[in-house]
Symmetry: C2
Subunit: 130 residues, 2 copies
DNA sequence: TTATTAATGTTATATTATTACACAGCGTTA
DNA sequence: TAACGCTGTGTAATAATATAACATTAATAA
């Protein structure tokens, strides 16, 4: 259904790190963690992140400037993202809700703008922190 | 229905600037524009912005690191924001849709997380740019 | 008045992200 | 094969965004 991307060396290193992280990672945290693998400069990280976001392997949590791996079946849906964010422990979860996706994909505003993409971030308290 | 906040001097200066701007303003653009009024340091701007966001007079467009004045009736709804963003001309419009607000306010995910707030950003092409 | 909270002013610094330039690898195609 | 386009890499420098720390003043409440 969707194209498999062969990740380059830097992309793979950085994806692996993000993928196994239980929490969103920031660019410079990533940089620090991959320096032992030979990635030395911010730009190397940002380039890999840009590409990974573009192909839907990771998502950026805009309100946190951090990145998490996609957990929607390898992500055909990089253009329709929704997350829940706990304001205490900062746990971030990707929301997979057919109802929500459908509602938002079909949403039309009065200005007749045509949407190709959206990002939704919910904030609140997770079970543990409540 | 909602409390009127008496803005402080810096808050008022910065709110006025944002309010009369047709487009979202970035913090350092604001700083540059209010230096003639005696606001000299980034922190003075950020403090005013923080407060204005907190009381709902302005919103932050997270994907753009920029700020716009609220246009939802002086904003009782700082906790439920939705915007449309044109990816070409960067025009940003606040969406007021009772249906959308209602849908999102009532949205429950499977983890039973309780949401107190959300931010939604739609991306696409506006009428002009289509 | 006194205490408390909110706002200000200032310097320095931390964090996040991009520009610019040089080059390497790979597949196409002429 | 050579020339080309495309993607990715490496490196240095710098731009853009945001906060920490500390001292002071203004506004509000007790």
């Amino acid at each position: 259904m969707h194209k498999e991307h062969n990740l380059s060396k830097n992309q793979q290193i950085i994806f692996d790190l993000i993928d196994k992280s239980p929490e969103p990672l920031k660019a410079y945290t990533i940089l620090f963690n991959v320096q032992k693998k030979g990635i030395k400069a911010p730009l190397q990280v940002y380039r890999a992140l840009d590409k990974l976001v573009e192909i839907g392997k990771i998502h950026k949590i805009e309100s946190r400037n951090a990145f998490i791996a996609c957990h929607n079946s390898s992500c055909q849906v990089a253009k329709a993202t929704a997350f829940s964010i706990c304001e205490i422990c900062e746990k971030v979860t990707e929301i997979s809700s057919a109802g929500l996706s459908k509602y938002l994909a079909n949403f039309k505003d009065k200005d007749g703008m045509k949407y190709s993409k959206y990002n939704l971030e919910f904030f609140g308290l997770c079970k543990k922190c409540r």
